[in-house]
């Protein structure tokens, strides 16, 4: 299995085998990057994003709800639209974690069939997190980065 997305691991928590739940809990408790378990021909490998904080605001896939109050910070996940290799070094400079980003700005690249494809910020804000290590494989729909955006 490929690395599971944050949403996927959260989603399966309720319905998967207790062994998987225990492994996820173990990974979080001990702050482990990877936990693997194998028995009777079943192999489970759980990769945990080392920079993920348990108290992080919930990721939100779509547009944030509109509030009447003062602008509020929201976390927005940037998903991969391609299968390929995640690259954080390329032809242009990309923002570091913590830096502001503009809508459409290049955050990273996905190398697919020898071509570098830009990963663009869907909205302006601040780059809160990069979820994938440079050189790692990514699949369609996988969260790549988290933006802190203001509503």
């Amino acid at each position: 299995m490929e690395p599971m997305s944050a949403e996927f691991s959260r989603e399966i928590r309720e319905k998967v085998h207790p062994a998987v739940r225990d492994l996820i809990a173990l990974a979080e408790e001990r702050q482990l990057g990877e936990v693997a378990w194998e028995s009777d021909g079943v192999a489970i490998r759980i990769q945990r994003n080392p920079s993920a904080r348990p108290a992080a605001p919930p990721l939100e896939a779509g547009r944030a709800p509109i509030h009447d109050e003062a602008p509020e910070a929201r976390m927005l996940a940037v998903h991969s639209g391609l299968v390929g290799v995640f690259r954080t070094a390329g032809p242009t400079r990309v923002p570091r974690v913590g830096e502001p980003v503009n809508e459409g700005q290049v955050l990273a690249w996905i190398e697919s069939m020898r071509l570098m494809n830009e990963v663009n910020a869907p909205r302006g804000g601040r780059l809160a997190e990069i979820l994938v290590e440079d050189g790692h494989a990514v699949e369609y729909g996988q969260p790549l980065a988290v933006l802190e955006v203001h509503t």
Binding site: M1, E2, V83, S112, M113, Y140, Q142
Partner: protein, 454 residues
């Protein structure tokens, strides 16, 4: 031999290829669309990549994402299964340009056989009998002239076609032009190509196909025939091997024609040459060649003992077949039923939902190739095939008795399936006496007295 193979498909055929790879000690890479994440083929593969959303055009047909998944995972070959990219020569060429082996014939052989008019002329030149017909129809006058000369009924077929799309049987001159228009529109929608041609139509013919297997060293074998005469709207429902109406001299003649055709196309891998058999005089005519593993391949596996998917993988890895024609012997009789999630009472409309309770048939002589399990969700995005029951027996009678039992054992609650309808056919007196032809099912449904028994 390959170390790692990517399977560019879903459902039972993805599972079938994974099983073959496991037996050959090959690591497997699955691809899946977002709603297929929990599928068995994903769980059974060593690695899996989500390649897109539910719509097949953006997932199972996404050439860039599938090729990229193969490159990223370090797979050396891609097995396309059937459907999706299996007969896409452009995909096969892209595989080659990325140094990935396409497990199937060469793009040239696929092109030669994929275009139906071209296939007809290649086969005709190779001395294979073809059904009287036309090239691409350029004008209405062409069509009328052919139909007058050959006599009605005639069949309209899509040049780029397959799977019954763009096909129409026309019984009189009055409906010919209207049917041409409909067939062109259907062909354009399905294949992006509105070219059609005409063939003479044999009303009570048998659909008999010859399985061929060829390696890259010039060895070409045949594995006997399959009888796929039980069809509904040109979709096969039940397949048998061997055919009850093909005797040894006829088998030899059809196989010889198939081998000539396969050699003429420079064919490698597993392929099927389809014929129509006129039961009145045992004359037969080339219909088309399928350049892929077919849904009904298990019946041939059951009677020959040869694993066709493993053979495809070995051939693609450059290995010789390692057997001769004299090693192919047909043993017993096999029959396959395709169980679809469809409502047979309501025009075979797709039935979607969650399978709450499931019991799969088993016991002596029963093989079930399926990807479904308890809790499986039948999605509206893909074809409705739930699985295939394949029964083997010492003779046709035993194979059919087993099929009747197996279909009775099959239980899937939560969706409607065609299992009860298939059982009606298996127990039909005409079917039991082997009095079948390509319009048998249509006639059965149109006859209230016969339809009433199911």
């Amino acid at each position: 031999m390959f170390n790692k193979v990517l399977i560019a498909n879903r459902g039972e055929i993805a599972l079938r290829v994974i099983r073959a790879c496991k037996e050959l000690g090959i690591r497997t890479v699955a691809v899946f669309s977002e709603p297929d994440r929990e599928s068995v083929h994903v769980a059974m593969a060593d690695e899996a990549f989500c390649v897109g959303p539910a719509a097949a055009t953006h997932s199972y047909l996404s050439i860039p994402n599938i090729i990229s998944a193969a490159l990223v995972s370090g797979a050396e070959a891609i097995h396309p299964g059937y459907g999706f990219l299996a007969e896409n020569s452009n995909f096969a060429e892209i595989c080659t340009s990325h140094k990935l082996k396409f497990i199937g014939p060469t793009p040239q052989a696929m092109d030669m056989m994929g275009n139906k008019s071209r296939a007809r002329s290649v086969m005709s030149q190779a001395g294979v009998p073809i059904m009287p017909g036309t090239g691409d129809i350029e004008s209405d006058e062409d069509a009328i002239a052919f139909a007058r000369q050959a006599g009605f009924p005639v069949m309209i077929k899509a040049t780029a076609g397959g799977g019954g799309k763009g096909m129409r049987v026309v019984h009189d001159a009055a409906s010919l032009l209207k049917a041409l228009g409909t067939a062109r529109a259907e062909a354009h929608a399905a294949f992006g190509d509105d070219h059609v041609y005409l063939e003479k139509f044999l009303p009570e013919a048998r659909h008999i196909e010859i399985q061929v297997l060829a390696d890259e060293h010039g060895n070409v074998l045949h594995l006997g025939e399959r009888d796929c005469s039980v069809q509904r709207r040109n979709q096969k429902l039940i397949e048998e091997a061997p055919s009850g109406v093909v005797d040894e001299p006829l088998r030899a003649a059809m196989a010889e024609a198939a081998l000539r055709g396969a050699r003429a196309a420079g064919y490698t891998s597993a392929g099927t040459i389809e014929f129509l058999l006129d039961q009145r005089d045992n004359s037969f005519y080339f219909l088309e060649m399928n350049t892929r593993i077919q849904v009904e391949h298990p019946v041939t596996e059951m009677v020959t003992g040869i694993d066709l998917v493993k053979a495809q993988i070995r051939v693609a890895a450059g290995e010789p077949l390692g057997i001769g024609q004299e090693d192919i012997r047909l043993k017993g009789h096999a029959v396959e039923c395709r169980i679809n999630a469809e409502d047979a009472e309501r025009g075979f409309a797709p039935s979607t939902g969650r399978i709450e309770h499931l019991h799969l048939p088993g016991g002596p002589g029963v093989r079930m190739d399926t990807h479904i399990g308890p809790g499986y969700k039948v999605l509206p995005f893909y074809d409705s095939l739930l699985g295939k029951v394949i029964c083997h027996g010492a003779d046709r009678e035993e194979a059919l008795a087993r099929m009747n039992r197996a279909l009775e054992e099959f239980r899937a609650e939560g969706v409607l399936t065609t299992a009860p309808f298939l059982r009606t056919i298996i127990n039909n007196a005409f079917f039991r006496k082997n009095k079948i032809h390509t319009t048998f099912v249509e006639n059965l449904s149109a006859t209230p007295a016969l339809a009433a028994i199911h």
